[in-house]
């Protein structure tokens, strides 16, 4: 199983790059010109998100480096205990909606410290593989097109994050204990 997934992810991009253009040529598409036309848009979109990225990454960085996150994690202890959640994964749960890179760092740390096949290692793996960084996606995606009113998106995103987290805890306890 591990081997299959590993092989699939190795071959995914080359396979795309082979089959899409070949199929397109057979249907009479001018592939080179077409690729360039599409790629042209990449620069504009990537550059337009810079201000939103700066704003978000700066706030997340300060929040984390100053130790606010650890403080919150520490004071959430009793709540997590009530749901039988190992306190070690609390920083990961809090980091996950804010920063993909930050969360990945914490998850990798947990996996290495407790071992990938420990309960904490499995839980950290499941959590990290599960949710996307809600704040990043919302600020950058909305920012790129100039949306200022997010309406109910943030509520939906955070609710989904919470659900995924609780579901991770539930299923890991169920399957691996």
């Amino acid at each position: 199983m591990s081997q299959i997934i590993h092989e699939l992810s190795r071959w995914a991009v080359p396979a795309f790059m082979f089959f899409i253009p070949v199929y397109a040529v057979l249907r009479g598409v001018k592939v080179y010109e077409c690729f360039v036309k599409g790629a042209e848009e990449g620069f504009g979109i990537a550059v337009r998100i810079i201000p939103y990225l700066v704003a978000m990454m700066m706030a997340v960085g300060i929040f984390r480096q100053a130790g606010v996150m650890d403080l919150i994690a520490g004071s959430c202890g009793p709540f997590f205990e009530f749901f039988h959640i190992p306190p070690e994964v609390i920083p990961l749960a809090i980091m996950r909606p804010f920063s993909g890179g930050g969360a990945l760092g914490i998850a990798a740390e947990l996996i290495n410290a407790y071992g990938p096949d420990s309960v904490i290692g499995r839980l950290a793996s499941t959590m990290q593989g599960s949710t996307d960084t809600t704040f990043f996606v919302l600020t950058v995606y909305f920012g790129s097109v100039g949306i200022k009113k997010y309406r109910y998106s943030l509520a939906v995103g955070l609710l989904a994050d919470l659900t995924t987290f609780m579901a991770s805890v539930y299923i890991v306890n169920k399957v691996f204990l």
């Binding site: 690729f35 990454m57 996307d132 919302l138 995606y141």
Partner: protein, 195 residues
């Protein structure tokens, strides 16, 4: 709301750093983060150009349209305000496919492209449309069949069975996505009645 959260994150950080007598943490972090943000977006230029180029080929060849046809029953239900053959639909489908397959670096380019196309359908340009909210709900909580990145980490950490978390991840993401779709649906109705 995002204004308040953003402010709180910064202020709480500054207060805590000041209490510890280490204001320089804030200065350092702020500038480092700003630089990291620019670096990220410049790296994204290359990846974005690549995937948007590939997508254009797939589009011209009619492959995106095929994908849209297959998934039409779902997309009609999820995005009633987006016409079937609108470019927004194609970009959204490519984004969600990339998410499901764990192709992280392809998801963002398609997602940003989709937002642009959705914005062309949006009547109030500063306010998120319903389709955008649904799209982002799916994006922040998307069902994942292959958490490629974490499998790699487990592999290098010497796990006896790196892929044993595929099933648990699938369960957790399925739960998250169901709640996201339901919450989006309910809140959309509430907001329609005048908020």
């Amino acid at each position: 709301m995002i204004n308040i959260i953003w402010l709180l994150m910064i202020i709480s950080g500054i207060i805590l750093a000041s209490l510890q007598g280490k204001p320089e943490i804030i200065t350092q972090t702020a500038f480092q983060a700003a630089q990291a943000a620019v670096k990220y977006s410049l790296e994204l230029v290359g990846v974005m150009s690549f995937w948007l180029g590939m997508m254009k080929i797939a589009e011209e060849a009619g492959l995106v349209r095929k994908l849209a046809t297959i998934l039409r029953p779902f997309t009609r239900m999820l995005f009633p305000s987006v016409p079937d053959w609108h470019p927004a639909m194609g970009a959204m489908l490519m984004n969600l496919s990339a998410n499901i397959l764990g192709l992280g670096n392809a998801a963002t380019p398609f997602g940003l492209k989709a937002m642009q196309e959705l914005q062309s359908l949006n009547r109030e340009k500063e306010q998120a449309s319903e389709a955008m909210c649904t799209f982002l709900a799916l994006n922040t909580a998307c069902i994942t069949f292959m958490p490629t990145m974490i499998i790699g980490i487990r592999l290098s950490a010497g796990s006896a069975n790196p892929t044993e978390v595929v099933g648990t991840t699938l369960f957790a993401t399925a739960a998250g996505m169901s709640v996201a779709v339901m919450a989006d649906n309910i809140l959309r109705r509430i907001f329609r009645q005048g908020v």
